[in-house]
Amino acid sequence: MATAKAHIAFELNGESVEVAFAPHKTLLEVLREDLGLTGTKHGCELGECGTCTVLLDGTPVLSCLVLGLACAAHQVKTVEGMAPGGTLHPLQAAFADFGAAQCGYCTPAFLLTAEALLATNPRPTRDEIKQALAGNLCRCTGYIKIYEAVELAAARLRGEAATPRVEALYGH
């Protein structure tokens, strides 16, 4: 408990940061406790629920299973880095429009996982979206509004003038 702190530098949301922390700490703990970025949430801290997902060098990782030390000199992206300049990312805007964030607790993880999907697959099928999000649990939405939001954001990111499906907002 009295271990000397480790000190690392890495790129966080596009900016260079340095941070000192107890060396046993996970990336989740470093982000929340030492860097004050509480947008990254936790549901189990055992790698079971996906709620703490962040992007490490562009790939979704469970920040509760990654040591903070392992991030030295790497790139980390959290939900706080998704809306630079105060403008919502198309995924964030679509989540807001569909009510894909109900309680909002799992939302940062879904957003980042979806962003990583769209970075490699700009036109995913619904099955591909389900596969990509299968490691993230949500208890509020039944996932359906999340799929709708990812599809709408994907279309908008492709430059298409897409609008929400009326049945998705009002029913059949």
């Binding site: 408990m1 929340r32 970025l37 509480t38 947008g39 990254t40 949430k41 936790h42 549901g43 189990c44 801290e45 055992l46 079971e48 629920c49 709620t51 959290t78 939900v79 706080e80 998704m82 809306a83 919502l88 964030q92 805007a93 989540f95 807001a96 429009d97 569909f98 009510g99 894909a100 964030a101 109900q102 309680c103 909002g104 607790y105 799992c106 939302t107 940062p108 957003l111 979206i129 389900k130 596969q131 299968a134 490691g135 993230n136 649990l137 949500c138 208890r139 509020c140 939405t141 039944g142 996932y143 359906i144 509004k145 799929y147 929400p164 998705a168 907002l169 009002y170 029913g171 059949h172």
Partner: protein, 823 residues
């Protein structure tokens, strides 16, 4: 409730929620996101025994650990509490007895979570194990040792017997009488956010508690009671809940403990439960064994129903008395039942306490009722949809148990899912292994009575107008993800002719906001919504008075829309809303109003009549499509059609989200979710983790085709009824009925696991009863029945006085016994 003069501008549209931007940017502060300078961290020591007397507890080594600031045991918080006045049976830390594996026994506050955790290992507790009660049937068989001495009988916490008309005469008049046994396994809410709370004690004697709770008002009361503080010294702030579903509706040990630790140490103290601990908090679905006997004439008319339930309540009362009544309350609100009898029992067992989970006590009986109706339809050779449509409860009527029905949109709901699913072309016509099943349900839009008896409003709103044209709504309601903050904003903006973004919403803070009882029983939209409309109409009337003078027009011509106040007959004559506010404020003074809502009294006046009444009942119908693999018993659900009578949609996007989320949670209960314990291994929870407690992922979740039926109810705000719980209920029986359609076996319990389907298929192959489910209901020492003639037999909703010396329990008061009382 609200008068509706003009076309609606905002109500019914799809709105971004007022907190949407904060939620998608990670800016929302949940309880564990909060930190204060010099904050300590608390951990709870939990009992490893299911049932044990506590001997000596040695805390000295823990106190000596560097960094430990305080250690508490039960003696430090000796005053009992509990959500219901009739079951004040919990202690913040076990006082003399631990009653389940996970029951909190001691608490530590330390400068770090690691040190607090290490200190727990240094606390020595002398446990003297007692016999543990493993489940409800075990509780019936073993009245001793009693888990709580106040139980109605042995280890049976609560016993209920209500009879509405002569049910035996009903059976005698029937052509077909069926008896079925069903079991509904317990399940838990599994909110993604673990419970967390942060307490701060100020040297001037003020306690502030931030906590992830659905019911800040009840936490406020519990803190005052247990800590012996004046309520004015306590401020409870409900942080946005990262999911609730009923699991954050009780005052909890950890909330009381961090408050006490903050008082003892003079420093802020935070606790965040581990995921395993969330399973111990539980308060989820009661495992329920049911027996149901129903009579029906050849033409399909129901002649009577006798329903028995036995609930496994776990170690404490929680909402359990209400839960028990709810297993018998809403059988009558969908199909006309001329005679009805309900016998309900709740057992104490040595497991985490059960309580209110989405649907609170009604999904279990609804499952039994809807599966049995499917069997009755087959016996009569009738289509199950038509059999239901034939005997819908009429709108604006009373049921056998004196529930007052308002609007009733179940007929259109059934029609929607039957047409949408292609029911007639599929039912009993699909190839072996594929099937469809139909089921319906209803749910309350708020309970008619509060948890503790009082005559005050259930929801209050204060509203203030700013000179710049903004309006702030203050309400004690709690945002748990269902979108209640947005409902307040939409309704006030609608009444005042503003835009949603003009409205600021302050909720869930006992210092700042008028009391709202909490986010439970699907009450918030209707109750806080009506209170908000009343406050908004009052301020609108003040502004209109001054605008009318300014415009030189009669008061009744003043209209509000598009941020303007204007002459309804000459819309170009008007002024901006903000200017109208300033005119009014100059003459009237500061512009602020209040509104409140109290439900109308219940029609029933018998003991027990307090559970079931509601200002409005929502209705749902669902068709599930399944694919069953006969070789493995694996059930897949590709899609569900669901129609829900919401009265009127206020935020269309939120209504869709609530319906789909309900279907999701119902699917989990139908197929996989179960709170499972090792009865022979110290009654430990088998699977207290998010990995092993199976819940549907994206790969199991079905497609949902949703129909929103709008039949505005006169009691709802702009006609709105609930949509957050009701649509869960038909899913489980629809899946069970579809499994039968697919492979011809009845699974009379949930979850419908591959093992159960496989066993039933094997029985069928051997020529045995093609069924999996319970086979007996134990003998229970029921009290003498409370007999209440149904409305059509005369009477006024009061019970018939029992013959002298025969019946126990009848009291002259008409109040239900979930209100005041013992201890």
């Amino acid at each position: 409730m609200a008068t509706d003069r003009r076309p609606l501008r905002l109500v019914g549209k799809a709105h971004r929620k007022v907190d949407a931007a904060a939620k998608v940017t990670g800016a929302t502060k949940f309880a564990d996101d909060l930190a204060l300078p010099r904050m300590l961290y608390a951990r709870l020591l939990r009992s490893p025994h299911p049932h044990a007397r506590l001997g000596r507890i040695d805390t000295a080594p823990a106190r000596a650990l560097p960094g430990v600031q305080a250690v508490l045991t039960g003696q430090d918080l000796p005053i009992p509490f509990g959500i219901l006045p009739v079951s004040q049976d919990e202690h913040a830390l076990a006082l003399d007895t631990a009653r389940f594996v996970g029951d909190p026994v001691a608490a530590v506050a330390a400068v770090s979570e690691d040190i607090a955790t290490a200190a727990l290992d240094l606390i020595a507790v002398d446990y003297q194990p007692l016999r543990a009660v493993t489940d409800a049937v075990d509780a019936v068989r073993h009245p001793e040792p009693q888990i709580h001495p106040y139980a109605d009988s042995g280890n049976l916490h609560k016993l209920i017997d209500l009879e509405f008309g002569d049910v035996e005469a009903g059976f005698a008049a029937a052509d077909v009488v069926r008896e079925d046994l069903m079991f509904f396994e317990g399940s838990t809410h599994l909110p993604m956010e673990q419970h967390a709370a942060l307490a701060d004690w100020s040297p001037d004697g003020k306690l502030t508690l931030w906590t992830s709770t659905q019911t800040p008002h009840y936490v406020h009361r519990a803190l005052a009671q247990v800590l012996e503080l004046a309520p004015a010294q306590i401020r409870v702030i409900a942080t946005p809940n990262g999911g609730g579903f009923g699991g954050k509706s009780d005052p909890f040990s950890h909330e009381l403990v961090v408050a006490k630790l903050a008082m003892v140490t003079g420093r802020p103290v935070k606790i965040t439960l581990t995921r395993e601990e969330v399973f111990y908090c539980h308060r989820g679905r009661h495992p329920t064994l049911m027996w149901v006997k129903t009579g029906v004439k050849q033409d399909g008319t129901l002649t009577g129903m006798h329903f028995k339930s036995l609930l496994d309540g776990g170690a404490y009362g929680s909402y359990g008395v209400a839960s028990t009544y709810y297993t018998g309350a809403l059988q009558t609100v969908t199909y006309h039942l001329p005679r009805y009898r309900f016998q309900g029992a709740r057992a104490f067992t040595n497991k985490p306490p059960c309580g209110p989970k989405r649907g609170h006590g009604t999904p279990q009986p609804r499952f039994a009722l809807e599966v049995q109706l499917d069997k009755l339809a087959e016996q009569l050779g009738r289509d199950p949809a038509e059999l239901r449509l034939q005997q819908l409860v009429p709108p604006h009527s009373l049921t056998a148990n004196w529930l007052k029905i308002g609007t009733m949109g179940l007929g259109p709901c059934i029609a929607k899912v039957v047409a949408g699913s292609g029911w007639k072309a599929k039912f009993r016509k699909l190839p072996y292994g594929q099937g469809v099943g139909l089921a319906c349900s209803s749910y309350i839009t708020g309970a008619g009575l509060p948890v503790y008896w009082n005559a005050m409003p259930h929801s209050g709103v204060q509203l203030k107008c700013d000179r710049g044209g903004g309006v702030t709504v203050f309400c004690g309601s709690t945002e748990i993800g269902q979108g209640s903050d947005s409902i307040l904003a939409v309704l006030v903006a609608e009444v005042l002719g503003l835009e949603v973004r003009d409205i600021a919403v302050v909720t869930g803070d006992t210092d700042l906001t008028p009391v709202d009882l909490g986010s439970y029983s699907s009450r918030v939209t209707l109750m806080s919504g009506n209170a908000a409309i009343q406050a908004a109409e009052r301020v609108r009337d003040i502004i209109a008075l001054h605008a009318a003078r300014h415009l030189g027009i009669p008061l009744e011509r003043v209209a509000f829309a598009d941020r303007r106040v204007y002459d309804g007959e000459r819309p170009e004559q008007g002024l901006p809303f903000a200017e109208a506010v300033r005119l009014a404020e100059a003459v009237h003074g500061t512009l602020g109003t209040v509104g409140s809502y109290t439900p109308a009294p219940a029609a029933g006046k018998y003991r027990g009549a307090g559970v079931g009444p509601s200002p409005a009942y929502s209705y749902s119908a669902a068709v599930a499509e399944v694919a069953v693999d006969p070789a493995t018993g694996v059930v897949q659900v590709p899609r569900i059609w669901i129609a829900h009578d919401v009265g009127r949609s206020i935020n269309a996007a939120a209504v869709m989200g609530q319906i789909e989320g309900s279907v999701y949670m119902g699917l989990g209960e139908a197929l996989m979710e179960e709170m499972a314990y090792r009865s022979n291994r110290n009654v430990v929870h088998k699977i207290p983790s998010l990995l092993e407690y199976k819940s549907p992922t994206t790969l199991e979740m079905c497609d949902v085709i949703t129909y929103v039926v709008e039949d505005p109810d006169p009691n709802g705000p702009f006609g709105a009824k609930e949509c957050g719980q009701g649509p869960l209920l038909p899913v489980m029986p629809a899946v069970a009925n579809a499994v039968y359609d697919a492979v011809g076996v009845r699974i009379d319990e949930v979850p419908i696991t591959p093992e159960k389907v496989f066993k039933a298929l094997r029985r069928k192959a051997k020529g045995e009863e093609p069924r999996y489910g319970p086979t007996s209901f134990p003998d229970i020492p029921w009290p003498a029945p409370t007999r209440v003639p149904p409305p059509w037999d005369g009477g006024d909703g009061t019970a018939i006085a029992p013959a002298a010396g025969t019946a126990r329990g009848r009291r002259s008061a008409a109040r239900p016994d979930v209100v005041p009382g013992r201890p």
